[in-house]
């Protein structure tokens, strides 16, 4: 609600003013910090980080927001506090000398105190008021106010005075943080939540399967929108960092730029261009199939482009990876030296899943990489259930997508049901999934790789043989012989066999060709002899024909001559003929 109102100057006075805590992530989930000028209750068990969080609120307020603060400690002495937070890089003594912070230790020792009759806590008010006025404080911490209850017996007076105290704090206009120990079934042991109703934050420190995780939840925050989940947080050498869990919407920017995987054959399988920038890639496979090598190639390729890369290793130490990769001709050290590549190796069991997530978050925010490698995510399952790992990865993916960071996970597939689930659980989240698998055949094991899915691009459907050689990784076409798919030496043998066969066939072909030529020659000679024969026969026949012709000619001539002779005779005959006719009449 605040966003639209901030833009509108008329309505802005209605938005709840907030004081940023400066604690990483906390301001995001509270929508800007604690309510300005009102008390906030931070409650939690012993050791949940209440004191530290409130101290960070004061110190960061003084350093980053120029708001001096008073820290009233009911538990620890000023020196102890200074020492405790010195490990976080806060110089409390100097801040006190600079009048930015004032630490007041209220010591309540029950054995030294006797109560008789009516009293009030005006002394505390005066002390606090004096401290606030002396440095013009805007922020106040009372840690842990409930110690009053153990030091004083008159509950009636205490309760009345506490009510007055919070009222007084509001009047003073200071942003106050009050810490309280968690009680049975209640947020605080003495019901402080009854007095503070503006903002209540609960800190929790749970141990599940021997792994402890700190969590934070905003129980209530009046007049503002806030995250309601339990957010894990981490305390390390830089103080507290809270992880804003999931982004609420899927409205990320996408990129169309493609980036090479570093393996030419693999780029080819992905339409020749590689993966999309800012996408997520899962490489899964059984043990020893070269997942880490693929990941390292991907990382080094990113560095070659001059981009930054973080490699989170859950199995091998950085030195191991450097050594192992140099054995396949990959110089990782070079990029470590010029600070493009960072390694973060930790055992999954070092801390809980959430902590891993927070830690990764921190590293990524700090280093601002273009590529992130997680190798392997499967090991995380040792410290959480499938569902937990998945939800953690969703959150990590969300964050990485938001930041447009390309991420590559590797996952070990075993032949157990649980791990198949991890695979599948994650696979629906990622944009691309490469599967590297063993192809066991002919007494040897070879590696085959295929692209299971790759969103938004054309990709090969083929299984390629994946070779790890002294000079690096390469993909070769799997040989499809008459007996099925062949890999490794079987492929070589088959190729050799085919080669021999071809030579033999070529030779046979040659011989046949020659035979044909010879045949043709024979045929041709036969044809010519036949033709000669034919010619002689033809001549013979012609001869007879000519003779016949000649004979016929001569005979004709003779006949004509005879005919001529006969005509002369005929003329004589005609004179006698009419006489014959006469006689018939």
């Amino acid at each position: 609600m605040s966003k639209s109102q901030k833009k509108n100057p008329v309505a802005s006075h209605r938005a709840l003013p907030k004081s940023a805590t400066g604690i990483i992530g906390l301001d995001e989930i509270t929508g800007g910090g604690f309510p300005t000028g009102r008390p906030t209750l931070i409650c939690g068990d012993a050791g949940s980080g209440k004191t530290l969080m409130s101290m960070e609120f004061i110190v960061r307020g003084a350093i980053e927001f120029n708001e001096p603060g008073v820290f009233m400690a009911f538990e620890e002495k000023a020196d102890e506090l200074a020492m405790n937070v010195a490990s976080l890089g806060f110089d409390l003594k100097k801040l006190q000398a600079d009048k930015k912070i004032r630490v007041d230790h209220v010591h309540i020792e029950r054995t030294e105190i006797e109560e008789t009759g009516e009293y009030d806590l005006e002394g505390l008010f005066i002390r606090l008021g004096h401290a606030i006025d002396s440095i013009k404080a805007k922020r106040v911490v009372l840690d842990t106010l409930e110690n009053l209850f153990s030091g004083l017996t008159n509950q009636r007076i205490l309760r009345a005075e506490l009510g007055r105290l919070f009222h007084w704090l509001k009047e003073k206009g200071v942003t106050a943080v009050i810490t309280g120990e968690r009680g049975d079934g209640k947020l605080t042991r003495h019901g402080l939540e009854e007095y503070i109703s503006d903002c209540v934050i609960l800190l929790d420190h749970r141990v599940i399967d021997q792994i402890s995780t700190r969590r934070l939840r905003i129980v209530k925050y009046r007049g503002t929108v806030h995250g309601t989940n339990e957010y894990p947080f981490l305390i390390d050498e830089e103080g507290i960092s809270v992880l804003p869990v999931t982004s609420l919407h899927l409205s990320k920017q996408v990129q169309t730029e493609r980036i090479s995987t570093g393996i030419a054959g693999l780029d080819q399988m992905l339409g020749g261009k590689g993966f999309y920038k800012g996408s997520s890639i899962l490489v899964s496979g059984t043990a020893g199939t070269g997942k880490t090598s693929i990941a390292a190639y991907f990382a080094v390729e990113a560095c070659k482009r001059g981009e930054r890369c973080i490699y989170f290793s859950f199995e091998e130490s950085p030195k191991q990876i450097v050594r192992n990769m140099s054995s396949i001709g990959l110089d990782v050290q070079k990029y470590l030296d010029n600070d493009l590549l960072h390694f973060h190796a930790s055992r999954p069991t070092l801390y809980g899943l959430e902590m891993h997530l927070v830690a990764m978050h921190k590293h990524i925010r700090k280093f601002k990489p273009d590529t992130v490698i997680l190798d392997p995510i499967t090991n995380l399952i040792t410290i959480g259930s499938v569902g937990e790992v998945k939800s953690m990865l969703v959150r990590l993916l969300d964050f990485l997508m938001e930041e447009q960071i390309t991420v590559m996970f590797t996952a070990l597939t075993l032949n157990t049901v649980v791990n198949e689930q991890t695979d599948e659980g994650v696979s629906s989240l990622v944009d691309a999934w490469l599967l590297v698998r063993d192809i066991e055949f002919n007494g040897e094991r070879n590696r085959g790789m295929y692209v299971m899915k790759s969103r938004g691009m054309k990709h090969s459907n083929q299984v390629r043989e994946f070779l790890i050689t002294d000079t690096g990784l390469s993909l070769v076409d799997v040989y499809l012989g008459p007996e099925g798919v062949l890999t490794g030496s079987a492929r070589e043998a088959e190729q050799l066999k085919e080669h021999t066969g071809k030579a033999l066939r070529d030779y046979a072909l040659d011989r046949k060709d020659r035979e044909i030529i010879r045949k043709r020659r024979v045929l041709e000679s036969k044809i010519s002899s036949l033709q000669t024969e034919f010619e002689s026969v033809e001549e013979e026949l012609n001869k007879i024909y000519l003779e016949e012709e000649l004979k016929k000619e001569i005979m004709e001539k003779n006949r004509k001559e005879v005919m001529a002779l006969r005509r002369e005779n005929k003329d004589i005959d005609t004179t006698s003929a009419p006489a014959k006719k006469k006689g018939n009449k």
Binding site: E112, I113, T116, G117, E118, E122, G123, I126, L152
Partner: protein
């Protein structure tokens, strides 16, 4: 226990914040008890924190009124309007419990 310097054997400080009813009652009660039990051996210093708030921290004052026994050591504190004589005397080690 023996006063070495010119100081009295009992040095008492009463912290108050203005002239409230409780403060007045406390001071009256205290003077009465001292006159009865420690005549001539005590000195009472009344500190008004409204005037000198910076003194509250030194004696770890949080409740008002607070009576602090500075001498003899160890330091003892009694908070409240000192209406219970028995408790005050035991608290100040004037009378053994």
């Amino acid at each position: 226990m023996t006063p070495v310097k010119s100081k009295k054997a009992w040095e008492l400080r009463l912290y108050v914040a203005g002239k409230t009813a409780k403060s007045v009652t406390a001071l009256t009660n205290l003077q009465k008890y001292c006159e009865e039990h420690l005549k001539g051996q005590y000195v009472i210093e009344v500190i008004d924190l409204l005037e000198k708030p910076q003194l509250a921290e030194g004696d770890q004052i949080f409740a008002i009124p607070t009576l602090v026994r500075k001498v003899p050591e160890p330091i003892r504190k009694i908070i409240g309007d000192l209406s219970n004589e028995e408790k005050v005397l035991v608290g100040l080690n004037i009378r053994l419990a």
